[in-house]
């Protein structure tokens, strides 16, 4: 087991409110696996990913990487962000080199690694542009190259395709699937886009609404590339959607009852 979560619970305390965002989450990710995490919005799936990245700590429970307890960011666990999070004063290549630079690797090595990756994501020739000169899709390509530059074993992707227009996202997903296939790295993608999860995942982890628990783990054993109109695709989509629909209604009801203001506060707490 590459990454393993046991009874992970996350509680936010902002007296007098105490909110349980995640409750007793247990699952594992196998080496080389592509695991997608889906769930109703605001259920805490991004928090889950952030905890694996070491950016946040569980209130109780354990996260293990190769059997070792994870309490801080790990040099073999990398991340791709929804907002791209490129540093705007750095050029494309400087952004890709960021992780290696922090590690103190020699300049020549950094440049070689970065150029190889930029070629892989189709950005050769753009290495000296600044992020503001790039489209959303290009920015995320840089984000992916940056995440891969430190040669991670696990790549975490937090809604990585959500801020990109659908056509570009489609192409980028295909590229990520290819990268996964070639590198055999472990991928964890958090998404609210169900077809996206079915297209990429070996297994899909379905979370319930807040407090999020593991509702179901669905294996996807379709051949790749996967076509959305295939009957198997459609049937998996229908099954998971049925699971999520109930949760969605639950969460909408609860938000209405507890008032929109409180819901917003929760979301702010989680994001902050």
């Amino acid at each position: 087991m590459h990454v393993e979560l046991s009874n992970v619970t996350k509680v936010y305390e902002d007296p007098p409110q105490i909110v349980t965002a995640l409750k007793d989450i247990s699952f594992h990710v196998n080496e080389g696996e592509f695991l997608c995490i889906v769930g109703p919005s605001g259920c805490g799936k991004s928090t889950l990913l952030r905890m694996i990245a070491g950016l946040d700590r569980p209130s109780s429970g354990q996260i293990r990487f190769r059997g070792d307890l994870l309490t801080a960011p790990h040099s073999k666990i990398s991340m791709v962000f929804q907002s791209f999070a490129l540093l705007p004063w750095r050029t494309v290549i400087q952004n890709v080199e960021f992780g290696l630079e922090v590690q103190g690797r020699p300049k020549k090595e950094r440049a070689e690694v970065a150029m190889d990756l930029l070629e892989m994501v189709g950005l050769k020739g753009s290495e000296n542009l600044f992020p503001k000169q790039l489209s959303g899709g290009m920015k995320q390509r840089v984000g992916i190259a940056r995440a891969l530059a430190i040669d991670p074993e696990v790549v975490l992707m937090d809604e990585a395709f959500s801020a990109i227009d659908e056509f570009t996202a489609e192409a980028l997903r295909a590229e990520v699937a290819e990268i996964h296939n070639e590198t055999k790295k472990t991928f964890l993608l958090v998404t609210h886009n169900l077809p996206e999860a079915i297209e990429l995942a070996d297994r899909i982890l379905v979370l319930s609404s807040r407090p999020a628990k593991v509702k179901s783990i669905v294996g996807v054993e379709m051949e790749r590339p996967r076509i959305q109109t295939d009957s198997e695709f459609v049937s998996i989509h229908r099954d998971i959607f049925a699971l999520l629909k109930g949760e969605l209604e639950n969460s909408i009801m609860r938000h209405r009852l507890s008032g929109l203001k409180e819901f917003k506060k929760l979301r702010d707490m989680e994001e902050g």
Binding site: F81, A85, E101, V102
Partner: protein
């Protein structure tokens, strides 16, 4: 624009609408300026003013920078400290100077202190704002790629707030120059202000020299902007 103002000024004095005692002709002022530029005594005054402003601004930066960073990152600290800073900042510089002079006496220490005091405000607020505006994801990037405290500061925080720092310093110099001339007179220290007050109070041509000295301050400010701040801003504009 500047050319138009100068043209109007020159034509007013040439037509004799205003007597040269009240407004000396532009060409006289320029001649005085050239003459002053060759006078070591005046240049020493200019140097002293420049040194006081620069020392004051540097001092303000040194003291305020760490505080502004801290306050920008910890909102509880911000809520505790910023109201006090705003209260102190609202006090008129020159009133404080008068008190300061009566406590520590006249001299360069008082002048530099007030210069720092007036420079302190823009730096504090621009840097505080800059730190607050750093997206949370930049901090996440620094953490995920395992940047230490020092690296997070040099590779992430500092470049993020650099545009704010440039704006803050630019305003600081402006603020500091604005009060300095009066400060010099009150604190009785050498400088352009003292030169102006003695020359205007003196001979028939003194107003001419006074205006020439004021123009010197303007030229220093413009030169500073062109040589330092605009270069930085051009660099920032490449990526921002």
């Amino acid at each position: 624009m500047l050319v138009a103002i100068f043209a109007i000024w020159e034509s007013i004095s040439l037509t004799g609408l205003v007597s040269s005692n009240e407004l000396p002709a532009l060409h006289d002022v320029i001649l005085a300026l050239i003459q002053l530029a060759a006078t070591p005594f005046f240049l020493a005054h200019v140097g002293q003013s420049f040194a006081n402003v620069t020392t004051g601004v540097s001092l303000a930066l040194l003291l305020v920078f760490p505080l502004a960073l801290l306050v920008g990152m910890r909102s509880q600290l911000d809520q505790a400290i910023t109201p006090i800073i705003m209260l102190v900042g609202a006090l008129p510089d020159l009133a404080i100077l008068t008190v300061l002079v009566s406590v520590i006496g006249r001299g360069n220490v008082a002048a530099v202190t007030i210069s720092a005091f007036s420079a302190f405000f823009p730096v504090y607020f621009t840097i505080r704002q800059g730190v607050k505006e750093i997206p949370a994801d930049y901090f996440h990037v620094a953490s995920v790629f395992k940047a230490g405290r020092a690296q997070t500061f040099t590779k992430m925080i500092l470049p993020s707030i650099f545009p704010n720092l440039v704006t803050g310093l630019r305003l600081s110099f402006e603020f500091s120059w604005n009060v300095l001339l009066a400060v010099e007179v009150i604190a009785s220290v050498a400088g352009i202000g003292t030169f102006i007050s003695t020359s205007i109070g003196g001979s028939v041509h003194s107003l001419t020299y006074g205006l020439a000295a004021i123009m010197t301050v303007g030229m220093i400010t413009i030169a500073m902007d062109r040589a330092v701040f605009e270069r930085f801003e051009n660099r920032i504009r490449r990526w921002r």
